[in-house]
């Protein structure tokens, strides 16, 4: 066996050597993808590091441009009916990597599959606007009853239950990519295989060794293959921030999608200024309050006092110091859709805020003489811990004793799901670039509404109306009004808008920081 191994490893090195020779002139981009992909099947992944590769393999009808804006993808154009209920996509003349034409049947097949209950897609609810989608996803209706119709080989029609402002955004997500019906039918559900999987995107999968690397090669049959400048892309799943930094410094990776650890940020800023690329992300860091009856935070005065006494700049500048923006809202400012509004005290000075906070606590029956004890939950991370400690210190003068409860992520999120907390750290990163992604969570049936017990009928009604409003200005006004209700109720403790901090070698051209954190490789090149 040993000999066998030796032989095969010799063969491997020969093969590697040969590839290196033949691709001496090839442009190879080496990316640290920050984690091992959970799946390359667009219907089964759910993380950023999954979709980062999926997007390169499977193009969508609606695509992201280099700056993150929506542009035509496999559909060269689309029409939206006056009432916003019917979307008609016109597919361009394109081929799968095996030469088979990409048709509207493939697009319909994919949407049907996405909503099949046994596929258990975790973002399926973003497509619930499609006629009959909730019933299909719950297994109560056949996939054929879905409001997805093939008008001809190149035309797909999707009908919605109600106008839905963010529907086009959903169609740009990796889940919505057309899939090769002919290949999946032949392979079954276990169809992701290096060198075999039929793809539509700019790259095809040639190698996948779990925890080591995923290798993609340019797909010559991609409809815009001439514009693709990279020949090969290697994704490494480096989940250790310092390990990633070391390898970036040693020149063995060109882009690192691990965040820069806050402890190393100053060093990186000083020593790798050309490589550090920062930008806003559609994501929000906040704490949830449990508003259930009988909990201290059911009292709005206490929620307001805690918000008043929180010095967000201390957290963003002194604790993190990585360009995060202090936030007095739930919807990150970079989100498209025009959500405005902020907590009423946002521009007041700290002395006035503290005076009012103390008064509110006093009114609620608490103070340094009669302290209120609150339990604050956070999941394991150095930064989460530092922020939790800072909050406890900021609230101390109000007569609030904070008991900190740290747990690993699975326990933390399970506790939130069950509403088993008083104050809990939370973070939301958008799946679609739309305010609904954040505000929808706080409706009575939304995930945060369920966990925290927040209920405001006016808020629910406004969110419902905003979802169906197609006029952008009117919708922005509704969204802003809804968010203001949430903020005036002090239903949560917003802290900051997320940013991304990535390392990108100056050799890499065409890379842009985008709010949805998408960086299509077809626009990227590398100089030797």
């Amino acid at each position: 066996m040993k000999l066998n191994r030796l032989f095969s490893s010799t063969l491997l090195s020969l093969a590697l050597g040969a590839t290196m020779l033949s691709t001496a002139q090839a442009a190879t981009l080496r990316i640290n993808n920050a984690a091992e992909p959970g799946s390359l099947d667009p219907h089964k992944g759910r993380n950023m590091w999954d979709s980062r590769i999926q997007r390169e393999l499977f193009d969508r009808l609606v695509d992201y441009g280099p700056d993150g804006r929506l542009v035509p993808g496999l559909a060269s154009s689309w029409d939206i009916s006056e009432d916003g209920m019917t979307y008609t996509f016109h597919l361009r003349d394109a081929q799968w990597s095996d030469g088979t034409p990409i048709t509207a049947h493939d697009a319909a097949f994919s949407l049907h599959r996405l909503l099949r209950p046994e596929i258990a897609n975790q973002n399926a609810n973003l497509y619930y606007a499609i006629v009959n989608a909730p019933a299909v996803n719950a297994g109560r209706a056949a996939p054929e009853t879905l409001g997805v119709h093939v008008l001809d080989d190149r035309t797909l029609e999707i009908t919605l239950n109600q106008p839905t402002a963010y529907f086009l955004q959903s169609m740009a997500m990796s889940e919505a990519a057309p899939l090769p019906e002919h290949y999946l039918k032949a392979q079954g559900d276990n169809w992701i295989k290096p060198d075999q999987t039929v793809v539509s995107g700019p790259f095809r999968l040639t190698q996948w060794q779990p925890q080591a690397q995923v290798v993609l090669e340019k797909n010559p049959r991609f409809y815009d293959a001439d514009a693709v400048k990279l020949d090969e892309v290697i994704f490494y799943p480096i989940d250790d921030d310092n390990g990633a930094l070391n390898r970036f410094r040693a020149g063995s990776i060109d882009i690192s999608y691990s965040g820069v650890a806050s402890a190393r940020y100053e060093w990186v800023k000083e020593n790798l200024p050309d490589a550090l690329r920062s930008g806003p992300l559609v994501g929000e860091y906040f704490y949830m309050f449990s508003l259930r009856d009988g909990t201290p935070l059911a009292d709005k005065r206490i929620r307001e006092a805690l918000n008043l006494a929180t010095r967000r700049e201390v957290i963003t500048e002194q604790i993190l110091g990585m360009g995060q923006q202090p936030s007095y809202w739930l919807v990150p400012r970079v989100t498209s859709g025009g959500a405005k509004g902020k907590m009423a005290f946002a521009d007041e000075d700290m002395t006035a805020r503290m005076t009012r906070a103390r008064q509110l606590m006093k009114d609620a029956g608490y103070g340094p003489g009669n302290p209120l004890t609150l339990t604050l939950r956070y999941n394991t991370s150095e930064d989460h811990k530092k922020i939790a400690v800072a909050l406890a210190a900021m609230w101390k003068p109000l007569g609030v004793n904070v008991q900190m409860l740290n747990s690993e992520a699975a326990v933390h999120y399970a506790a939130i799901d069950q509403g088993d907390f008083e104050i809990a750290r939370y973070g939301m990163i958008a799946t679609v670039n739309d305010p609904f992604d954040f505000l929808g969570a706080y409706t009575t049936d939304g995930s945060a509404g369920n966990s925290t017990g927040y209920h405001n009928a006016d808020y629910d009604a406004l969110i419902e109306r905003s979802t169906h409003e197609l006029d952008p200005d009117k919708r922005a006004a509704l969204i802003t009004q809804a968010q203001q209700l949430l903020l005036d109720d002090y239903a949560l403790l917003p802290l900051y808008d997320y940013v991304t901090n990535y390392l990108v070698s100056p050799k890499v051209k065409g890379w842009q920081s985008t709010p949805m954190d998408v960086h299509p490789l077809r626009y990227i090149s590398i100089e030797e």
């Binding site: 191994r5 490893s9 491997l12 090195s13 590697l16 091992e36 992909p37 959970g38 799946s39 390359l40 099947d41 089964k44 759910r46 209950p117 046994e118 596929i119 258990a120 897609n121 975790q122 399926a124 609810n125 909730p134 996803n137 719950a138 297994g139 276990n190 992701i192 060794q209 779990p210 925890q211 080591a212 490494y236 799943p237 480096i238 989940d239 250790d240 310092n242 390990g243 070391n246 390898r247 410094r249 040693a250 063995s252 690993e408 992520a409 699975a410 326990v411 999120y413 399970a414 506790a415 939130i416 799901d417 973070g427 939301m428 990163i429 799946t431 969570a441 995930s447 945060a448 369920n450």
Partner: protein, 308 residues
């Protein structure tokens, strides 16, 4: 000896069954599930997920299903790495951990044993103190300190070796992780070897050997070495099992595709099938290696015989 071996192997089956059963239920008692993540799931989607992985069935039913599949050699699909079965993950990762571990153990023995012997022979000399303080340092400094330091110095600052990555197992990529893995083992083995050698050298049969007029090197190599190695050998059983099943720290820091991380990550992600798969695998490996150690005893020490 054959019937002893068979008896031990037969005993391994109930042992493993108990390990599997306890692990299965312990894992489920832990709060949180595989689908509890930053983004909360709507109830209908959670229901779909649970049904897809049979998590909606009663626990005893799930246990029977798992055991049934296990008997057919099926560890099930990973919850987190959905394009691979647990078997595929172990099959792809284990050779990497094994190779790395093999070299680390070899290096540890090649350095640790002679160091221990020298320290024992030069007992209480400056060489002894030097070796033992280095060994103490090796035990005291954890590998999550040594590994990044090695990567930084040799990978980044001097740029002699890759700072990480596996690269199909090229020796350049293996060198630093092997060193990082073996430093602690060198320290343990050296200390153990020294203590045991000192004890053996003061025993009667060594005095007899010396009295017969044998040269010092003959005394050490022919008579003292074998019995002195017994404690090291019994330590090596579980140590080898531990090392060849990978180290999550070393694998993470150097980006090595072994199976060490599956234990820890699997448990943190509540990837039930992956955790169970690694537990079964690790359990079987320990049972096997302990058996080998026990058989080696009889080779090293004639007083130990496995007769029936």
């Amino acid at each position: 000896m054959l019937s002893y071996t068979l008896k031990r192997l037969a005993l391994a089956i109930p042992t493993l069954l108990i390990v599997i059963t306890i692990s299965f239920f312990l894992m489920r008692v832990a709060p949180g599930g595989p689908f509890d993540g930053e983004r909360q799931l709507p109830p209908e989607i959670e229901a779909n997920l649970k049904a897809a992985y049979h998590l909606d069935e009663p626990l005893p039913m799930q246990y029977l299903r798992y055991m049934g599949n296990l008997l057919q050699g099926d560890f099930g699909p990973s919850f987190k790495y959905k394009d691979f079965s647990v078997t595929e993950l172990i099959v792809q990762g284990f050779p990497v951990s094994l190779e790395l571990g093999f070299w680390a153990i070899l290096l540890a023995l090649a350095i640790g044993l002679p160091l221990g012997v020298i320290a024992a022979l030069k007992r209480n000399s400056s060489i002894d103190y030097l070796v033992m303080s280095i060994a103490l340092g090796g035990i005291a400094v954890p590998n999550f300190v040594i590994a990044p330091l090695l990567a930084l110095v040799f990978g980044v600052l001097l740029a002699w070796l890759p700072a990480g990555g596996w690269n199909g197992g090229a020796w350049q990529n293996m060198l630093l992780p092997v060193i990082a893995l073996s430093i602690q083992q060198i320290a343990y083995i050296a200390r153990m070897m020294r203590a045991s050698m000192i004890e053996i050298l003061s025993s009667h049969f060594i005095r007899t050997a010396r009295a017969k007029g044998l040269s010092e090197s003959e005394v050490i190599w022919r008579h003292a070495m074998r019995p002195a190695m017994l404690p090291v050998v019994s330590y090596l059983g579980p140590a080898i099992a531990g090392i060849i099943t990978g180290s999550v720290v070393i694998e993470q820091i150097f980006g090595i595709p072994g199976i060490g991380r599956y234990f820890v990550q699997g448990a943190l992600n509540r990837d039930y099938t992956l955790v169970m798969g690694t537990v079964v695998f690790y359990g079987a490996l320990i049972v096997l290696l302990n058996l080998i150690v026990d058989l080696l005893y009889s080779v090293l020490d004639p007083q130990i015989r496995y007769d029936d």
